[in-house]
Amino acid sequence: MSVKNTIADYLNEHSESDNGIYELDTGLSKSYAQVVETANIINNTLVIGEGSILTVVLPNSILYVEYFVASMLGGWIFNPIPYFTQVQELDKILSYVNPDFIITDRNDIIKSCKDTHKLISSHDYLKSDYKKIVSNIRSDMPAALYYSSGTTGNPKGVIYTHENMVSLIGSIVRGFKFSKKDRQLALLPFGHTASINYNILPSLMVGCDLYISQGFEKLRSNFFKVLSDYKITYTQIVPTILFVLNKLKVDISKIDLLDISFIGCGSSTLPIKAQDEFFDKYNIPISNLYGLSETGPSHIDDPRELGWSSGSIGQPLDVNECKISIDGEILLKGKNIFHSYHKNKKLYDKVVEDEWFHTGDLGFIKEGKFYFSDRKKDLIILGGINIVPMEIEEVLYNHLNVLECAVVGKKNDLHGEEIVAVIVPRDSSYDQKKFSQELKKICKEKLSSYKIPRIIYFWESIPKTHSKKIMRRKVRDEVNNY
């Protein structure tokens, strides 16, 4: 048996299979043999050396997966960025990541980056003929750089090696009991790690059918019909989608939903009430997903287990151990723990101690099951997307009348949290309505739309510690009781 160092090595074993990838929105489909062939052509066409960083800003598509596989074959570092990231924000990411190549089909990005970066048109690979690549990628080589804004406002890039990736995905396949017979539906944005880790890579590893949608907005009116028509066995959503599905009036009495054993739901806190309501309404259990960019999914909450009940994040996947520290933090240790942070060894040393990764999340164990209870970090999670308050505060300080500010999350039934900015004005006589409009305008120019504060409060002061540090947790509590 040949040595398999990368997910592409596993995929090669399925090149004789009839299974493949299907785009629901366009009708396009390709077998895995064709996907591997295109990935080889991409490699033959593009002159990209091992270890080069390839930033990818593409919509959910087969082509996206083909570039991912090409990246594995070529030993490139795959750097996925959410497709709808605003250009100004992307500039900031690119100056940190410093990619060797960018691939995108977005004209605004092409226009903005054409003089500063090497750009690849998404269909450049068509220029070459097929020639099989002899791939000799070692397991300790970096496979991906997952960008995140970081918890302190400083960007961070999580470097994941092929060993990290193969260990994690193998464990997910075992934990979730994925097999070649599955039919996965991927609808969350591919620029985030959730789709990559739960849908794309497990499908490539086991060679099961993978159905792709460009987003939930394309499935709002026929989500359950799609599950039924394509006999989907696994998909995943975020709590915001779950809440809307719970509100939806839909007749599923004539729809066969027997193939789907459960739906995964994660990326932000999942209320038990919503989890149970969905099961009562559709008779499909919701599995509570937990994980971070640095580790990938770390637990399996398997509704197929005897005596299963909603609420917990289940048991650790076999790739890692999990324990709760004395101060209640969730700690993880295993081959899924990331290799390093891009250009930031100091931060890595701070969060990984004796091989234990400190998640910054609080949790507890009850009756042998793990529970997530709160974040120790200051992140705001809106509709499953992590938002760093400091990034928004930095932008707000561009207004001359902002003396102090603090951005926090306020509980929101639909999105989990919404963004609130608390401002202490220099000149309190300044018209508040006009001030709010100006602050939102500044944010709109510099940030992606979902990061613009929805609510702005004007306070006389912001609570601080003796060392003058903002007491963010106290601000958050006050805002939530406002």
């Binding site: 709808f84 987003g215 939930f216 907005e217 709002r220 009116s221 026929n222 989500f223 359950f224 019909k225 915001t240 989608i241 809440f243 809307v244 509100k247 939806l248 009036k249 839909v250 809106l382 509709g383 039934d413 639909l414 999105h415 309505k433 709010s436 409009q437 939102k440 709109k444 739309s449 979902y450 613009i452 504060p453 929805r454």
Partner: protein
């Protein structure tokens, strides 16, 4: 409910969700980058809470502009 009052209530919802005080009477998704897929779900959920309307697979895609929202609300009354 008068059509002016209905319009005002819808504009108030959109103003809160989109974070903008300037919502024209015929506002649509094409006019606001903030009215993305997440905001769309917020608008639908908020309308469902405030008005006597039923969100179904048949009408869930019909809430992308103020004129369309008014049509849906009126159809449910």
């Amino acid at each position: 409910m008068s059509s002016e009052k209905l319009l005002d209530r819808i504009k108030k919802i959109l103003s809160e969700i989109l974070g903008s005080d300037d919502i024209p009477d015929d506002a649509s998704q094409n006019d606001f980058t903030e009215w993305d897929s997440l905001a769309y779900l917020s608008v639908v959920a908020q309308l469902e809470s405030e008005f006597v309307i039923e969100i179904s697979e048949n009408n869930i895609n019909n809430f992308g502009s103020i004129p369309d929202i008014i049509k849906e609300i009126e159809a449910c009354q």
